[in-house]
Symmetry: C2
Amino acid sequence: MPDLSKSRTRRRGGGREARLAVQQQTTGNEAVRAGLSGGRYKPLTEADQQAIHNAALTILERTGLSDHTPELLDLVLPKGALLNDHGRLCFPRALVEDLLAGAAREFYVYARGDREGKDDMHCTAESVYFANSGTAVTTFDAETMSYRPSTLRDVYDFTRLVDKLENIHMLGDTVLATDVPDDFTHDMNTLYAILAGSQKPACLTFRDRSHLPHAIRMFDLASGGEGSFMKKPSVIFGGCPVVSPLRFGRENLELMIDTAKLGLTVDLAVPPQAGATAPATLAGTLAQTVAETLACVVIVNLINPGCPVCFAAWPFITDLRSGSFTGGGGEQALIGAAAIQMGNFYGLPTSVGAGMTDAKVPDAQYGLEKALTFTLAAHAGANRLCEFGGMMGSLMGCSFESMVIDDEAGGMILRTLRGIEVSDETLGVDVIHQCAIDPGHFLGNPHTLSYMNTEYVYPQLMDRERTDTWENRGKKDLFQRAREKSDGILNSHFPNYLGAADAQVRDEFPIQIPSDDMLRPAARAKSS
Amino acid sequence: MPDLSKSRTRRRGGGREARLAVQQQTTGNEAVRAGLSGGRYKPLTEADQQAIHNAALTILERTGLSDHTPELLDLVLPKGALLNDHGRLCFPRALVEDLLAGAAREFYVYARGDREGKDDMHCTAESVYFANSGTAVTTFDAETMSYRPSTLRDVYDFTRLVDKLENIHMLGDTVLATDVPDDFTHDMNTLYAILAGSQKPACLTFRDRSHLPHAIRMFDLASGGEGSFMKKPSVIFGGCPVVSPLRFGRENLELMIDTAKLGLTVDLAVPPQAGATAPATLAGTLAQTVAETLACVVIVNLINPGCPVCFAAWPFITDLRSGSFTGGGGEQALIGAAAIQMGNFYGLPTSVGAGMTDAKVPDAQYGLEKALTFTLAAHAGANRLCEFGGMMGSLMGCSFESMVIDDEAGGMILRTLRGIEVSDETLGVDVIHQCAIDPGHFLGNPHTLSYMNTEYVYPQLMDRERTDTWENRGKKDLFQRAREKSDGILNSHFPNYLGAADAQVRDEFPIQIPSDDMLRPAARAKSS
């Protein structure tokens, strides 16, 4: 095949100073933004979507869900849900279709403080945002190359790191504070760590419904007084109300009921695992997860018609050789994208687990698996790509270095999502004519200068140097460069966005992060 | 967000022995194959495609191409091409449209020997194959983590490595034999190394048109005597007949003319570089590369109507900060996919450069950049993803370890490409009902056993172990595991598929690979 070595340009000089001047005029990234539209990749045909929809309705009408609670039955049986001969909670086809027709098509999650307005999330079909979550039980230590139990301090550290990463749009509890065993103390401290560390929108879960009013109290304190949170919610709550196949999980079901009653956005994740808790066929797992997710959408809308609820069908994959969950293969990327397409078929705001690599270090496997799932989910038009930043080891661990890498990957993915603007001006037929006829170089052309900041994402961590430059600079890989960046942020950025409210929050809640601890580097960050 | 830790399955036992028995019954990968259909990702709208097509026709009609040769003019001016006032070769709109209507929609590249029939390539719109190429001038040495000049021996080594990698479908000259300076000796030895190392289909270039008859003679010797190559060509030839913007490159133009005259498939690559040899706008570079590629398609069809020619628009990207080529960003993935969509708009067999990472080692950057470009090109329906295997450092180097990684990535990408089969059987509504009502485990279900080999790709190199297992086994990353695999093949697989023809080939051509050298490990493979 072609020898391209002569046709590639290295270090052409034309207009270099002018270009650098233009590039230096700008701060941040003008080429991409949060909420760009996806949906140009459609893994399922129209007929496929209809068949999956029909299968899901059959499952809801005939098979239904077990392990319901008396409270749930009281809420939904009078409104058209039924118990079948097996005592399972079923939803007639017409009821589901009616409720889907009236379901909320959008919701907002607001940023706090200085970010308000600028970094709010408008969640609606095919607008793509990158969201953290995962509740990993371990944190990766780059110094020892091992995983250690994650702590409350990690929750704060991950949050303040993400505060400086522009392509991760939503905070979440990427790690579990395993050093805080008491449920209430755990939930309130996780919330505190997130509110202190960043003002970006967030998604969270609680271990018990009773924690919800206390959480709202803390939000109110943090954002301007009583009632302020309900006016502009900056966090959405949720969990896994369904345990596959087709059973309810009590704690998260109760949280869903209370959230719906309050009219807050109901966040979910419905993660059946193909071959383990759902059929081995991707189509079968898809049908089941759509049914299980629709059950939640239906319940929320029976409790509070029109209350926003996320269509969060998160099908997972099993490696059938071992029976273990695997988050990184092509099957995961494909079924995740198909689940998103089903959510868009219903016109509902969606989310999906994407970026759940099985790699244990940020290596080539990590990059391949992350990019494959990110790319297909984003182009399928996932409203939120959850598990986005830092997750490794099949969701068992989270890494500061990987968080920084995923942020940079996010910019690349967003650039592909934005697509190509085609107009007379961008086609530039006259510019081409002029540069061909009277050979000038495109590099110094005014057309180039006027587009260089809006047409391209300029990576900070991806190496684009010459090979000899890379060798002379110590042959660093992306993991090493990312470590330098994450250490740099973790050693310098110690926010407490609770500000004046901090004292009262500490007065009312059992906060376990000492306030002076926020102003000094953690042990891990110092070590490097 | 949801705590998923309880819903993920690790090491569930149901039916494990039965599953392993089923899995071990099979050899190779039943879930994917070469030539799967892409095209479900469409970055351009219908209107965009029409606008780019119109812009390209305007460029061909008004601006035209310079640096033509008298031979070319004699071939095309009598048939409707024109010279404009600048003396540039132009193609009227109606002529281009007529020729496009009659252009070949498909071609075959045949495998040799035992692979014939089984591994032939049927190149037609949206059938996806992974093809090597790149002509890198250096080879990555995993021992020293540096790049050294690539050699003829490397050509043979890369070829015999790919011979054992099932997801790389087409051979190519991934590296340049820099130790063979004479043009004729170089081209004949490259050809020999490829014919000796594997019987897969191949794509190649030659430095001079005069080498073509000699090459055909060697093919004939290798594949059954005079005339056998022309009956079932196992290699396609090409180069870069256009030097952007809109100039001809003589050597490759002459090769194109001769190939077309022989009625052999004309392979191309037309690589304008956005911001350097084409406009900085992606739309502008797309319009120019479509025009330049159509010029080649038109010339081939004027010389030999209906002669197969590849629509090989390979737009490249410049990092405008430095002016250097960059192969790994989101812009490259996006514009490559859009170029493919334009080829599919014309219904022509396509190729595109994909996998041209800027990373210097197989690290996370490598994985991210490779997967992003592979995924979008494949889903856009690229007939051939060229530069597929092993390429690193912005096409400056090739790596054995990366070749092995890319093969495994290929299986993952193909799995996503295959999509989801939706039928009553795969939806499995009754299986779901049965497993929900009478709780059994899906793992041991006959439905699972019957689909486990056809529904999933089982990776060999991607780590899916538990974190503690990974730690206990030495914390290897994918680069290390890939090195073990590539060393294993390179230390054991020394084919010479020329077989009985070898003596005569050596008699007629100045072959520089000693025949006994093929049967012993190269220095680099021994070292590890």
